[in-house]
Symmetry: C2
Subunit: 281 residues, 2 copies
């Protein structure tokens, strides 16, 4: 496994341009969710292709300095996990290798990024779009694999790829969960014991609303109230948002007439977690 920290070293490390190159962009603190993405990437790359994992805690996509500072960075464990997973190249740059001091170019998305995490985290998706495009171009990958957990990120990146004619196929991988239902996230490691024990209620609340929907409850207000009460019941989770949005436009829906997402973000102390379920009429 080759570990590269400078953009200028990537071309040599990546080798044969004629073979499939599959990128798994991460911010490190790799968990079973990431490893599932990597396994999927290996299948897509095939025997001749190359799996590249990028590990970069991108300052540009953090709206809170404390969140950036506290984001876990277990570098050695991450590299060991990549090695064990059969990754060919890890690109793990420092921020200075990604952004010139006078960096002044931003990629932004103006529709799908307005609501949900985009509204809650100003500038977040500008940072995501910009760094993901940079990583795509640096690695000249043909395929990139993203987790469905960050469904808004996935939608925004797919829009970016479409609108900028980026020659990369975006592959989504289902959310990987703990056995108790909690969506795997690098941020879970920052939860204390009580928060960690409480956090699976997010998933339970969303599934209960989904079940109610399937049983005939159609009014968004009713579904939202049900989910909100279940999430806030213990008093440990502070709601950031809870929204019912169209699955394509990510706009709030008054009536669920097509596929929709019931999505939430909550804070446990300073730790922000997200999750969602699909509602299909």
């Amino acid at each position: 496994m080759t570990v590269v920290t400078q953009a200028s070293e990537l071309t040599a490390a990546l080798g044969n341009a004629g073979q499939p190159r599959v990128l798994v962009p991460t911010m490190g603190a790799l968990h079973h969710g990431h490893l599932a993405l990597i396994r999927h990437a290996k299948i897509l790359a095939g025997a001749q292709g190359t799996v590249v994992v990028s590990i970069f805690v991108n300052p540009m996509q953090f709206d809170r300095a404390g969140d950036l500072a506290a984001y876990p960075r277990p570098r050695e464990a991450d590299l060991a996990a990549c090695r064990a997973a059969g990754v060919a190249v890890v690109f793990a740059p420092e921020a200075a290798a990604m952004y010139a001091p006078d960096h002044s170019v931003t990629v932004s998305e103006s529709q799908l990024s307005r609501n949900l995490c985009g509204a809650a985290r100003p500038g977040h998706f500008d940072g995501v779009c910009t760094v993901v495009l940079k990583l795509f171009l640096l690695c000249s990958c043909q395929i990139a694999v993203f987790g469905e957990k960050d469904f808004q990120q996935l939608a925004v990146i797919r829009r970016m790829v479409r609108d900028l004619n980026v020659p990369v196929v975006i592959v989504a991988h289902p959310t990987v969960r703990e056995t108790n239902g909690l969506a795997m996230s690098s941020r879970n490691a920052r939860l204390n014991a009580a928060q960690r024990a409480d956090a699976p209620r997010l998933r339970r609340a969303l599934l209960a609303a989904q079940a109610a929907f399937q049983a005939g409850t159609r009014r968004p207000a009713e579904l939202l109230t049900m989910a909100r009460q279940a999430i806030e019941a213990s008093g440990l989770a502070r709601m950031d948002y809870l929204s019912l949005v169209d699955a394509d436009s990510l706009e709030s829906v008054e009536h669920v007439e097509g596929p929709a997402l019931l999505a939430t973000a909550v804070f446990y102390g300073e730790v922000r977690l997200i999750d969602h379920v699909c509602l299909v009429p």
Copy 2:
């Protein structure tokens, strides 16, 4: 010569990916300036490479609807000129082939695009960056050739390439001029006889200021006044801006201590022309 109007047809038209591919992005209405860019592109492509000329009047970079509507579009003459110049592929899409109805992704530059044409034409360089990146990615060119006349555009695109790690080498070609000094521009065709006879005064005014600078006049205010008076003397040219800026940062300079640009944009009626000279202490 292959003429392509759909992005989906480009890959087949472009052929062998292993050979140099050189793009000359234009808005059509090709003049001798464009033809010089194409000749330069042919040298860069070599015998095995491919020269691609894009012809696209990009709505996103126009700040005035009238200017967009009036922009000349002599399609047949442009194709004939490309054919005569030995261009391999012309990419001439309609706007609908470049922008989805719900297009929502923008590439923007925030430093070099603030002054000069960026200040005078809100959103112009967002449109330039976005379409140029799209064209680079659609054509997967390794090299692109731009005219120095649009020096701010050139600086912004170079910054975009640097900051987004775009794998394209940007080559600049000197401004091509009429024998009377007027910088060639597709907009010149829209000048009436009196305006066309008057327009070379831009170049004369800038050269006079450059000569004064070389003769020892160093105060920006003095140089600017001299050039402004010469440009406005006939009463036909209405000043949009006249600025003395640092050649790298494109910020206004109080003292010329390094390479600087004396740059102007003027209106003849509704037709906007630009030109500049370099001042090197």
